[in-house]
Amino acid sequence: MSDTFNRRHVGQAATPDEYGGRRPRPPLRVPLPPTDRPAQTLPAPSDWTFDLIDQYHTVIRATAQRFSLDTYPNQLEIITAEQMMDAYASVGMPVNYRHWSYGKEFISTEKNYRRGQMGLAYEIVINSNPCISYLMEENTMAMQALVIAHAAYGHNSFFKGNYLFRMWTDAGSIVDYLVYAKNYVAACEERHGVDAVELLLDSCHALMNYGVDRYRRPGKLSLTQELERAKDREAYAQQQVNEIWRTLPPKSGKDAAEKEQARFPADPQENLLYFIEKNAPLLEPWQREIVRIVRKIAQYFYPQRQTQVMNEGWATFWHHHLLNTMYDDGYLEDGIMIEWLKSHTNVVFQPPVDHPAYSGMNPYALGFAMYSDIKRICETPTDEDRYWFPDIAGRDWLETLDHAMRNFKDESFIGQYLSPRVMRNFRLFSIVDDEIDPTLEVSAIHDEAGYRSLREAMSRQYDLGSREPNIQVWSVNLRGDRSLMLRHTQHNERPLHDNAYEVLKHVARLWGFPVHLESVGSLGNVSRRWTVDPSTA
């Protein structure tokens, strides 16, 4: 059950009505009581039929309503394995523009699948309104039920509720936008040649992670507002007029030199693609539009990259809880339970660090453990929990979970809710890897002394800001060779990867004039410098 959120980081600007437009409905404090116990369990053959899916879906929906999961309308779609791979390869979206990298992705996905190295994702869910969930043809009935609970109610409610998604994605228009993007790119290919478009897309993709806004841009002022402000400024300036200052002789040369050095941009810019779209001197209008398309898609996927643990954990928690509730209510048979529980267990397995399959924390496992633990803290708090979480220990779990889902991203969620018990269960420990030290040091383990620093370290690990190098537009040499200066500010003296030079070539291609990249250490010293001249690159 892996979805494709992080495979390629693609976004979409938010709607203007992010917060004010849709107030979330207040969460229930306690679940509604179950309806009458059914006379018999739902039929449980291994093969699904449309009828059966419909029956299960009805029960799952009714159960989800008992917990007041607020979702977009659901649209379930049955697809084949090939279509699943296809969606998988094109960043999990139902339509997308054509690009060779998706072809590459498809080929490697297909190869792994055929070899049996990788089970396909059981489901893909798209943050759209209505929320589209793909069910794969090959799944058994139990798996379809699991997927519906996981995707159509878990992920779906997360998409609708989490603040990042509310702020940065517009679920209602993403599919239409992608259709537009696909057609636009196709039209450009026809008019300007496949090669030109491919080069441009390659360059944009290289900078995709640097094509997102982390904060809202202020909205554009209307003409009347603009005029009003001008008037205010004028009035203010009039008040400040003091004839005596005029009589001072101008400072010799300094002002002029300062003016000469007026920086552009006035402040460093972190959204490289936006800066290029608006300011690259040589881009044609169609090229700017394509840069914009890539940027919008990157923005659309930005929340998903920041809420991996939360999103997967939430969906996993809810499929677990919903299906168990259905079993308690007498809807599910033992066979179905065993089957989905087996799959669930695989999904939330966290291999320990010395395991051959270990490749970092499993977001499903961590997220599921954390949400489950929050529920436990609410219901049966221990003294330790009362000490660590005085504000949620003993509260209503439904309300608390809802709050935890809506108002956090991975970084803050872990910083807030990673409990000592979860750290103990995972047997977490942190290692400091310092270049100047010949050995690694274990800086904290899951004990009283280490909880706090472990939690901080874990939280930082999920901070996109420190995971990705901090690279910003520093300045443009307006009066000289129009060269663009990027600046990498090192975090903990971590250097850039060697392929920075390759990426810089892409920047130079977009900018059209020489591009420099400086890597600046914590002391303000430039430790490394790259330069690419587009005429030679």
């Binding site: 049955i78 640097y210 490749s359 977490l428 040091e441 274990v442 383990i445 690990q461 003296e493 250097p495």
Partner: protein, 423 residues
């Protein structure tokens, strides 16, 4: 109720466009791989797919990322016996992945491997090649026809009868023909009803009688309108349109005299197969005629052509005479695109070579689209010299030498290079 949508039938092969772009991008590597593959392949399976290896660094998409070094802290699960302050040896080659998503690059520096389908393989294989002098023979006398539908007509055979159209026509006709009578009928019936409502008198009775006979006559008239008339019948119309023929015949001429050993035959065979595959991409129907010769020529089937061994001297002209005879007898020029390919080790009966040239120049080349001669040894003998002078004069004749297996494909590409394409 929520609708579950079945998408399984829609959008098969949706990512084909992406795949095409991927192949386009790595054309050079793929072409190189195809070339290597052809060299190593047996003759039987030349037209198959192939696994293509591309170095992973060539297809990577660079993004900014952190390199080794600096200070970082990583949290891992599964502590067994560490306590705070423990020191661990730095693992060689760096810790695998800090943030978690190391799985993607976990494959290391392996090549990126994918399978090229047979069609794609052939596409690359014959990329940039074209048949010289390709004119699709169209002919006036006995063209080939294709039939296809073209609307409806009022005559045809019963099996083409279009029932719905016919019945529709019939209804229209019945309405049109009967409308006048029906209107009159309705008028008379109204009148009758009116008269009946009035008090009875002899005059009225007479009138009523009169009306009733009129009404009966009208009814009979309406009934006489046929339900279905031959005029209503509509037939699906099928028209025959002439299509240009795309038929080709390929002559494989090979020397099987004692000097042609298995290795040389293998070279020749490779060349013939390439030519055959190439022609299949241009023509729907291809005949192959195998002519082998030593001092005498004979037409044989494929197996005998390649496997039967003969010994004896060599008279090339015998094969050319036979070829010309066969063309004239079975493959009229206006119906067939004739291609010839001759393979030989260059040995010939000394006095025969000028005659070969004569035969080609005046007999065969005017009937051919293209004639290629390939010599499977390096040594130039009189046949080569005679042909060389012919090649200078004729543009439908080409000749090359190939003495090693790996030369066949380049030679072939060279022969069929598109005008203006780079070597």
């Amino acid at each position: 109720m929520q609708q579950i949508i079945d998408r399984r039938l829609a959008g098969k092969n949706k990512s084909i466009g992406n795949r095409e772009r991927f192949l386009r991008r790595h054309k050079e590597q793929i072409r190189e791989a195809v070339r290597r593959a052809v060299e190593g392949r047996g003759i039987r399976d030349i037209a198959q797919g192939e696994d293509i290896h591309i170095p992973r660094r060539d297809i990577s998409e660079p993004v900014f990322g952190h390199g080794q070094g600096g200070k970082r802290e990583m949290v891992h699960p599964g502590n067994k016996d560490f306590v705070r302050g423990d020191r661990i040896e730095r693992p060689k080659g760096g810790q695998g992945g800090g943030g978690g998503q190391a799985s993607d690059s976990g494959g290391g520096e392996d090549d990126f491997v994918f399978h090229l389908s047979k069609e794609e393989f052939m596409q690359v294989f014959f990329d940039d090649l074209a048949l010289p002098n390709l004119i699709r023979t169209t002919l006036a006398d006995t063209p080939e026809y294709k039939t296809h539908r073209a609307g409806f007509s009022s005559d045809g055979t019963p099996n083409n009868l279009h029932v719905v159209r016919s019945m529709r026509g019939a209804i229209g006709r019945r309405i049109a023909l009967g409308s006048e009578s029906r209107r009159e009928l309705h008028r008379l019936e109204d009148l009758l009803a009116e008269l009946r409502a009035q008090p009875v008198s002899a005059e009225r009775l007479h009138e009523i009688e009169q009306l009733e006979t009129d009404i009966a006559a009208l009814r009979a008239r309406i009934d006489r309108i046929p339900y279905l008339d031959p005029i209503d019948l509509r037939y699906r119309s099928r028209v025959r349109t002439p299509v240009p023929t795309a038929k080709a015949v390929m002559f494989c001429v090979m020397d099987v005299s004692g000097s042609m050993d298995e290795a040389r035959k293998d070279l020749a065979k490779r060349f013939f197969i390439l030519l055959y595959l190439f022609l299949t991409r241009h023509y729907e129907k291809i005949d192959i005629v195998f002519i082998r010769h030593h001092t005498q020529a004979q037409e044989v089937d494929e197996h005998d052509f390649f496997h039967a061994t003969e010994t004896g001297g060599t008279v090339v002209s015998s094969a050319l005479v036979l070829m010309e005879e066969i063309i004239r007898a079975r493959y009229p020029r206006n119906e067939w695109n004739v291609y010839g390919a001759q393979a030989s080790d260059g040995d010939n009966w000394h006095d025969d070579s000028p005659r070969c040239r004569q035969l080609l120049e005046h007999g065969i080349l005017p009937l051919c689209r293209y004639f290629a001669y390939i010599q499977v040894v390096d040594q130039e003998q009189n046949l080569w010299h005679e042909y060389a002078s012919l090649a200078e004069e004729s543009d439908t004749f080409a000749m090359r030498k190939a003495s090693e297996v790996d030369q066949i494909y380049p030679v072939f590409r060279d022969l069929f290079r598109k005008e203006g394409a780079a070597k």
